[in-house]
């Protein structure tokens, strides 16, 4: 998978909570990646089996349709960790990690 700023930002956001469920729009807000980029990327991650997806339990929610969540797989977790580790060594991703160190959500 091509290593881009968007992928690294999303990988960092996913790895912040590796066992948790992530919503598409929530990821977009956290990382600042535009939805026109994020949703195709999520589809690619699903196709590569780095992520699995599911739907909210309709019995728990009331008055609205269920949301789709994304969860990291073990393979996905290790691959994305490798992506982030590689990116951390490349100067072009330096601003991204500096902002993260300063506590800014990307």
């Amino acid at each position: 998978m091509k290593k881009t700023h968007a992928l690294v930002s999303v990988a960092c956001a996913l790895l912040d909570d590796p066992d948790g469920q992530h919503w598409g729009y929530e990821l977009a807000k956290k990382t600042g990646v535009r939805s026109g980029v994020l949703y195709p990327m999520l589809s690619r991650l699903l196709d590569a089996k780095w992520l699995v997806d599911g739907w909210e339990d309709p019995t728990v929610i009331h008055g609205r349709p269920p949301r789709r969540y994304y969860q990291l797989t073990k393979v996905g977790s290790s691959r994305l960790q490798a992506v982030v580790a590689e990116a951390a060594r490349e100067p072009r991703f330096a601003p991204l990690f500096t902002l993260r160190l300063l506590g800014w959500e990307l």
Partner: protein, 191 residues
């Protein structure tokens, strides 16, 4: 009463009224607009249900921004999904949809004419991709540019149609002023 719009340039006035009417449509019926946007994805694609779920989970004030953002996602992700389906012509769901097989509906059987038209479209698409060595993304961009050019040429008319009710309402002060002036001049003449 002197109308506040008396010295306002008519073109600028109509444009601002058109823009205001579009903004009002976005603000009042974002759900309806999102339902139209999700139609950009092919039938049975999980993104259709996903975006509706995300939309209703948001607070009211964030929904308008969400719809604006999804317009972009629809143009790039939704149209690309349609192109991929047209390009591959596959009868089975793509991997990203296969997990929701119950949502997938295979393409319907087409008549002979439609089948030939479909084959011709597919053939030209494959040729163009081979000759120009371009990917699906570039073809989507070309299609979008064409659509935007056509919409751009129609844009003026669309804005005028949208702004028509507001323009009619806005002329009421002018008409009222004119009627008053005429009545006054008639009274003066009679006096």
């Amino acid at each position: 009463m002197i109308s506040p719009f008396r010295d306002f340039p008519p073109d600028l006035y109509l444009l601002s009224v058109g823009l205001a009417s579009v903004a009002i449509v976005f603000a009042t019926v974002p759900g309806l607009l999102l339902r139209l946007i999700v139609l950009l994805w092919p039938k049975g694609h999980p993104r259709r249900a996903e975006l509706m779920g995300e939309f209703y989970a948001l607070g009211l004030h964030r929904r308008i921004v969400f719809v604006f953002e999804m317009l972009e996602a629809g143009l790039f992700d939704g149209l690309a999904a349609r192109f991929v389906r047209l390009d591959s012509g596959r009868e089975v769901p793509p991997p990203s949809v296969a997990r929701h097989a119950e949502l997938w509906q295979p393409p319907r059987k087409r008549s002979r004419t439609k089948r030939w038209l479909y084959k011709a479209a597919l053939w030209s698409l494959v040729r163009v991709r081979k000759w120009w060595r371009v990917g699906i993304g570039a073809l989507v961009l070309v299609a979008l540019t064409t659509i935007l050019l056509v919409l751009g040429s129609l844009g003026g008319q669309i804005a005028q149609v949208l702004s028509l009710p507001f323009a009619i309402i806005a002329t009421i002060p002018f008409v009222r002023d004119e009627l008053k002036r005429r009545r006054k001049s008639k009274d003066d003449d009679e006096g």
